[in-house]
């Protein structure tokens, strides 16, 4: 089985994505000839079930933000399929797309640059109501007050400007703006990364409360693994444009099977000076997405003891290792890429189960 677009518990997924690719051309010279492409999102498939939070983690340049923006068609995908409630998002024209944006919203990382400094907070929140003809006049004013209260701000703040607010308050304004059109699905793109720890906790709790009250579905993009563990039901780990592991948060953090996830988890500093910790220090840097390594994208930095030449030749499928736990690795058994196939291309180490971190975060 592969990780295609099936609902987690039998219900139809709210969002499903198949074989999504997004390439950014690299142009050079007087005629802007295309000389290559950055493969920001490279053949990614997943779904988001109604009411769940799908966490997407990975380091800078792994494609997590591009994936989020491509689903909303804020960026045009290069190829692949995106369905929202069985509607084909890629086939939509401008008018359909605008209607769809009422149902799919985004909260940005930077609460400073994502709010227009020349508009009052009220006007920022009202804009969506006007565009989608949801409310006008005093009804719109009342709705703005209600939204401000809902995100924990005072209704009087509607007449103030963004610069008068702290980072946490600005992020609340961004959340109120996203909520104004009553969306079903919100892409949260690093919504708490720019905030201090204590304020971060306030915003995370708010997002969780709102999800419960409005039955929202979230795609929560972040580089902070502990925040994602807290908020997500399932987690996708991305590396160089690929999803390399996808599982429930419990499974992923308890038993990370992709060597990259293992290293990523072991790298998080633990706020306990007595914790004895095995750390996997990855050598070198992430390769350029303009020229990703052949075979498994992680093979140049991989520490799996069975790593061999087969890893440089075979692109691993994202396959189910235990129920609901999908991993991109031909050396973690079971695998559909048989040992015979691996030997044919020069493999010397048969797949073996490797779990160096079993007790680390237990």
């Amino acid at each position: 089985m592969t990780a295609t677009a099936r609902g987690g518990n039998g219900t139809a997924p709210l969002v499903s994505v198949r074989n999504l690719k997004k390439e950014f051309p690299i142009r050079k010279g007087v005629f802007s000839r295309q000389v290559g492409a950055v493969k920001a999102v490279n053949d990614v498939s997943f779904h988001v079930a109604r009411g769940e939070t799908l966490g997407v983690v990975g380091e800078s340049g792994c494609g997590k933000t591009t994936t989020g923006r491509t689903i909303l068609r804020l960026l045009e995908p290069t190829s692949g399929e995106i369905y929202f409630e069985d509607r084909d998002v890629r086939a939509m024209g401008t008018r359909d797309l605008r209607a769809l944006r009422r149902e799919m919203q985004i909260i940005f990382q930077d609460p400073v640059s994502s709010l227009n400094p020349r508009m009052t907070v009220g006007a920022i929140i009202r804009e969506g109501l006007t565009i989608h003809k949801l409310a006008e006049g005093t009804a719109a004013d009342a709705r703005v007050s209600q939204l401000l209260q809902e995100v924990g701000l005072r209704p009087e703040y509607a007449t103030r400007y963004p610069h008068e607010f702290s980072g946490g308050q600005r992020q609340r304004i961004g959340i109120a703006r996203a909520l104004s059109v009553e969306p079903k699905f919100i892409v949260c793109d690093e919504p708490v990364s720019a905030l201090d720890v204590s304020v971060q906790a306030q915003v995370i709790n708010l997002l969780e409360d709102l999800q419960r009250e409005h039955n929202l579905t979230y795609m929560f993009i972040a580089h902070d693994l502990s925040v994602v563990e807290h908020i997500a039901d399932r987690v996708a780990v991305m590396y160089l444009g690929k999803i390399v592991e996808l599982a429930t948060a419990d499974d992923l953090y308890r038993e990370p099977l992709m060597p990259y996830t293992q290293a990523l988890l072991s790298a998080v500093p633990v706020a306990d000076p007595k914790a004895r910790k095995e750390r996997i220090i990855l050598q070198g840097d992430v390769p350029s997405p303009a020229n990703p390594p052949p075979g498994c994208v992680f093979h140049p930095r991989c520490h799996h003891p069975a790593k061999d030449v087969a890893c440089t030749k075979i692109v691993p499928p994202l396959e189910e290792k235990t129920p609901g736990h999908f991993v991109h690795c031909i050396k973690q058994p079971p695998t559909s890429v048989s040992w015979e196939q691996q030997k044919e291309v020069g493999g010397v180490h048969p797949p073996e189960r490797y779990l160096p971190l079993a007790a680390v975060h237990a």
């Binding site: 609340r172 580089h223 072991s266 790298a267 998080v268 706020a271 840097d285």
Partner: protein
Amino acid sequence: MASPLLSIRDLRTYFYTESGVAKAVDGVSFDIGAGETVGIVGESGCGKSVTALSILRLIQPPGRIETGSRIEFEGKDLVTLADDEMRNIRGNRISMIFQEPMSALNPVFTVGDQVAEVARIHAGIGRKKSWERAVETLALTGIPAPEERAKQYPHQLSGGMRQRVLIAMALIMKPALIIADEPTTALDVTIQAQILDLLVHLQKEFGTSILMITHDLGVIAETTSRVIVMYAGEIVEEASVTELFARPHHPYTEGLMHSMPHIGHDQERLNVIPGTVPAPTNWPHGCRFRERCPYSWELPEREHPPLYDVGAGHISRCHLAREPERRNHPHQPLVVQEGVGAA
């Protein structure tokens, strides 16, 4: 105990702004011993970075280190030291690693030139000699093929490599003290692990003292031996790293520890510290944390708490030291009752 390498007494750094006097650092005292790694932790605006910049006297107007502040380092008072003597200390005896490795490097010079320049200025050695030393130091920081890398420009290096270059610049004169201001905040977690590993290793190898400034309690736990917690321009708690994490005393420290999600210890709901840090132009009277504190009572409202000795080399700026039984009766903080708590 031998006299400390750095001894700060009653440091006050104020900024004279249009909206009033911002008391960014307001009466801070602490020591750093030779070979010791001390951490300062706190959120934006607590005064941790201004403390670091004050040590190097990099405070620009309208900011000023107030008279009466003392920063003693190797027998000299850095507050009153002449400018040329201070230049001789910066980058030579005390060096600094900044948060943003891109903006801290000059884009039009090769990284080797920039590392070598430090040695040329401070050791008075020639171009060839200083270049050799730069390459050696780059190698120490784990940069592969340092001869080739030294000839490259900052934009040709990754974020992790650039941070290694900054560490090489900080290290080339073998300083007695390195101040690292959020050295890994801009880096990805796997690169952060490499850099923290490197700093700990270099500290052991050369016996350099490190002042580690960060907002991340994980970084503190993994790299430091003693921790200072700052809030609203003051030290609110100080203890050895094991003591602080085992027995946090100040409610702010407690709040910080509980509001962080921990991998493997998931809770249903995160604890929050309500409200936000007050404005530095107008610190609250009495205890500065009082309005956000779940234990506050009349005493903290009336009286600014001193740093109480709570045992085992542990100090805390909290009146709970005097009335510990109040910890058993938490209540809603003031700030929530006023209706601004959600902000």
